[in-house]
């Protein structure tokens, strides 16, 4: 089933269709992750995941310590939020998230002590149910960017017959290097996380997949991870072509196993579970220490940043303070992104606070800000050729303008994951990602009417 080269590293079973070759700009690849000094205050959003928002379980004036739960929800698809510094709750109010949505947030003034919460102890985990429960309590969400609660992902119905755990270290977004650093710096955490999750969830095989522009990650992981286990099971590395959007979940499943996730379905429906490399490393650390998800690594880079680096920050730290820690701006920033340049969000100010699923802060000067006017479509087909989901963005644009809902549904606009490959390659500079979002919302609206 697998083709392997001499070094034992697997090659992709089926390569991504389309996609685009974006310049990698992995400038911070050799920057070891540094810890940021404790911020004076943190703002913790109650919505740091896909699913129901949390409800604050502390009051203004309460003293909290690191790892103490400050927000939770009784809904299933949700993940609790924990205090990331020790100190006093000074405010509970509404904030605006980078995507424009509003959410409740708890502001904690730090006492500078980073005192650990007394109740923290390694969870007792010996079986599947205990693992899922522990992961829920840890507040873990997919750290790759989507922020889907990990415990929900792990709690697949037994009849799904998951046989492959895919560890996603593709990191196909330009600039971002935190997953790469995770592979280099915390390779043993990754490995122990892999074995724990594999055993407890009863998954036969593990594939750790990364793009081929990270040879050092392969060297490090190969020494410890690449093994055939008993009865044909294995933990193997897989080398993927460096091509955006290689790390997208559905693409990952296809590359690693050749299976295609049908529209509207999940990787579990084709027997796969995909976890980000930082998520799996966190699971391992959490099981050892019991310390919930209160900090994360970020790549701070871009042409307007004085000293680009990888930093580990308490969740809820303000962007401005992190940028100051990286030497501030060397030029006036024209655009600041939360996330990578292909799928990240442009933020309105530096008064934004880190969420669990943020993986980068990028600031660019005005020369790097794209501003070409939109032209008429010349039907060159670049968008269709670039679409990894085999869609026809130019047709979708036409149907969207005409509000032809049935045709939009028929040509499958809902499988679009907004990776931006079409807009990237469009010579007429069409804002195709916005078109896709509009198209999807038109379809949703129409379905709601019925």
């Amino acid at each position: 089933m697998f083709s392997s080269k001499d070094d034992g590293v697997l090659n992709a079973v089926k390569e991504v269709r389309g996609g685009v070759n974006v310049s990698h700009c992995k400038n911070t690849a050799e920057c070891a992750t540094v810890r940021m000094p404790i911020p004076q205050q943190v703002v913790l959003s109650m919505q740091q995941h896909i699913g129901a928002p949390c409800i604050p379980c502390v009051k203004v004036g309460d003293t909290v310590s690191v790892g103490q739960k400050i927000g939770d929800s009784d809904k299933y698809v949700s993940a609790p939020v924990h205090a990331s510094v020790s100190g006093k709750v000074i405010k509970i109010g509404e904030i605006q998230l980078v995507n424009g949505a509003k959410a409740q947030a708890v502001t904690i003034e730090s006492d500078g002590e980073m005192r650990l919460f007394e109740g923290i102890e390694p969870p007792h985990v010996t079986n599947r149910e205990e693992l899922i429960k522990a992961v829920r309590e840890s507040g873990l969400v997919g750290l790759g960017g989507a922020g889907f609660p990990t415990h929900v992902k792990m709690n697949f119905p037994p009849d799904k017959n998951i046989d492959t755990l895919i560890i996603n270290a593709a990191e196909c977004e330009p600039f971002i290097t935190v997953d790469y650093r995770e592979c280099i710096e915390n390779s043993w955490d990754i490995l122990s996380g892999v074995y724990t999750v594999k055993e407890l969830l009863g998954i036969k095989n593990v594939i750790i997949a990364a793009e081929d522009n990270k040879p050092e990650a392969f060297n490090v992981l190969k020494r410890i991870a690449d093994k055939d286990l008993h009865e044909g099971n294995y933990v193997r590395l897989m080398k993927l072509k460096s091509k955006y959007p290689q790390g997208a979940e559905k693409i990952m499943v296809q590359s690693a196993t050749g299976r295609k996730v049908p529209p509207g379905k999940l990787p579990a429906d084709v027997g796969c579970m995909v976890m980000n490399v930082a998520s799996i490393a966190f699971v391992s650390r959490y099981l050892k220490s019991g310390k919930p998800l209160v900090s994360r690594s970020l790549t701070v880079d871009g042409s307007a940043i004085e000293r680009p680096k990888n930093v580990r920050v308490p969740i809820g730290t303000q962007f401005g303070q992190i940028i100051d820690f990286c030497g501030g701006f060397k030029e006036p920033p024209a655009k600041i992104l939360a996330g990578g340049p292909m799928m990240g969000f442009a933020v309105m100010s530096t008064d934004i606070h880190v969420l669990k699923q943020n993986n980068a802060i990028l600031a660019f000067n005005k020369n790097d800000v794209y501003s070409k006017p939109e032209n008429d479509c010349i039907r060159c087909g670049s968008c269709a050729a670039a679409c990894p989901m085999s869609l026809m963005p130019t047709l979708i644009e036409r149907y969207t303008k005409a509000r032809e809902v049935e045709r939009l549904q028929k040509i499958g606009v809902n499988v679009c994951m907004e990776c931006g490959s079409c807009a990237y390659s469009c010579p007429a500079s069409k804002p195709l990602v916005q078109v896709m979002r509009l198209a999807k919302s038109i379809v949703r609206e129409e379905l709601a009417k019925k």
């Binding site: 379905k265 006036p332 292909m342 969000f345 499958g412 499988v415 990602v433």
Partner: protein
Amino acid sequence: MSVENKLNISASPHVRSKTSSKRIMLDVIIALVPALIAAVFIFGYRVLAVTATTVLTAVIAEYLSRKAMKRHNTIGDFSAVVTGVLLAFNLPVTIPLWMAAIGSVIAIVVVKQMFGGIGQNFVNPALIGRIVLLSSFSTDMTCWTEPLKWRTGDAVTTATPLALMAADKKDQLTGLADMLLGVRAGCLGETCAIALIIGGVYLIIRKVISPVIPLVYIGTFSVITLIAGNGDFTYLAYQIMGGGLLLGAFFMATDYATCPINFKGKIVYAIGCGLLTAVIRLFGSLPEGVSFSIILMNILTPHIESLTTPKPFGTVKEKKAKKEAAE
């Protein structure tokens, strides 16, 4: 902080490739330059006069028609220049300049702008320009001068290689080397095979066009012509280089607006082009069939496209799903 008010907010992606419509059109123009230079050598400086006329008229027609229709000015994308050059390449060098200008106006105003401008025309503008001229001024449009005679000043009319073959006067044909270099009678831009191939390869390398359409078009045409010619490769070589096939396959059939976007569609379309060209040349009353076959396939393009649209990622084909359900 003062930075706040100056931050740019836009939807992802925040980086774009360097390509632009203008750059693509510029590439097509660059690809046409070798054939233009060759044409000047073969047919004389009048080539430049004809080309300048069609290009200028095309650009002015585009400017005025957009203005009349109260739409934004698009001459900056160079697509009118491309149409102008391609139309000139499809005309005999002796054509009266006012006729060439009419061809340009028809191509730009009637075929392109009346249907909505760039990307919206359903047939190739330059080809319709040529066909309208051919049916209106058939004598002037089929007046072929002998190549290289412009230097000595005696403009002798002659027949094109395809006409000679159709009339069974093979003894009057020029040699194959001359065919490759374009030293033969014909439309001013279609004769120099080597220059057209260089231009086509440039477009493929620059990824402006995919090699599918030219290869499948010429391939299909070759197979049929070989069968019809009882495997005579010399006959095939004359057929490929003798008319407008190379110009058509590399530069006209690949027009974005009028060929299918997806890979399968491109194959179907190119097979159709090759088939029709061969059929017209073999059985039709015309010695040349490239223009008509491309235009016929242009018209079929929307239908080809809707039948060959790829299924979205992960969608199971209906037949396969039914089969699986039955098992």
